[in-house]
Amino acid sequence: MPDANDKIAPNLKWMAEFSTFDEAEQKLLIALSHQKYKWRTKDRLAAATGLTAEDLNKTLEELMRRNVVRTSISRNKNIIFGLRERVG
């Protein structure tokens, strides 16, 4: 079975500031660091992190406020979220 670490993009800047984030934010940042997917929907983020919808919303707000995460709109007209350092 492949190591879960293989699913994470390497050398991301947020990891250097790891301790400045709380646990929910850290989980969300890991989910947003998926090697293959730069843009994540809320449903998938919730599934990956196990956060409740309320906690997920608040954590996303906080990460957007800190300018670590940005949003966009997917082809399927969903709000999608990505690490600013990856998606620009």
Binding site: A4, M64, I73, R75, N78, I79, I80
Partner: protein
């Protein structure tokens, strides 16, 4: 992260503050009434009450009431509650996430008016936008995007890689991280970032 307990405590705090407000108002009314019978006593009591409701005194009393050091109490208000409150007052909720206007603007930049209409309609259908208000009413917002210089507009909003990079919507379930995998990675990062010997 706000827990149910914290929310309960906040609600309790608001309720207590309301009770104190009513009590102080009643006290003020009582003093006014007392002034008709014993003006001197009422004036003295009123002076004490004015001292109590002085903003600085109130702040100190609130800090004592919430059992927090004054500096921490004031710090929490300015560093946590106030920015969050301002963010909510100055923004829009989409899909349960509160966006400030600047974040919402970033979100819609680069979308054409038609794309924006489709997005709003899709979000409405999903129940992710509050009901009320036709799309036409907010279509004016996209005028800002339409007025962007052509070069700016070409690079505004969704970057090219949003189209090229796979979004996770079509992901196979086995691709997805599982909560236990996220926790395991978290533990590894923690272990790697903690100083040796800890």
């Amino acid at each position: 992260m706000e827990t149910a307990n914290q929310r309960h405590t906040q609600r309790q705090g608001i309720w207590h503050a309301a009770c104190w407000g009513v009590a102080l108002t009643a006290l003020l009314g009582g003093f006014t009434l007392l002034g008709h019978y014993n003006e001197s006593l009422a004036r003295h009591l009123l002076e004490i009450l004015k001292l109590l409701i002085d903003p600085a005194t109130l702040l100190i009393l609130a800090a004592i009431y919430f059992r927090k050091p004054l500096a921490a109490f004031v710090g929490t208000i300015f560093s946590d509650h106030l920015p969050r409150l301002m963010n909510r007052l100055d923004g829009i909720s989409i899909g349960g996430v509160n966006f400030s206007f600047s974040q919402a603007r970033e979100l819609i930049q680069g979308t054409t008016e038609e794309e924006f209409r489709q997005l709003v309609s899709a979000l409405r259908e999903q129940g992710q936008l509050p009901a009320g208000g036709e799309v036409d009413e907010i279509a004016d917002d996209t005028a800002a995007t339409r007025d962007l210089p052509a070069a700016r507009r070409a690079t505004a909003g969704v970057p090219d890689d949003a189209e090229e990079e796979a979004e996770d919507e079509a992901a196979l379930p086995e691709d997805e991280l599982k909560p236990e995998e996220v926790s395991a990675i978290l533990a590894q990062i923690r272990a790697a970032s903690s100083p040796p010997g800890n």
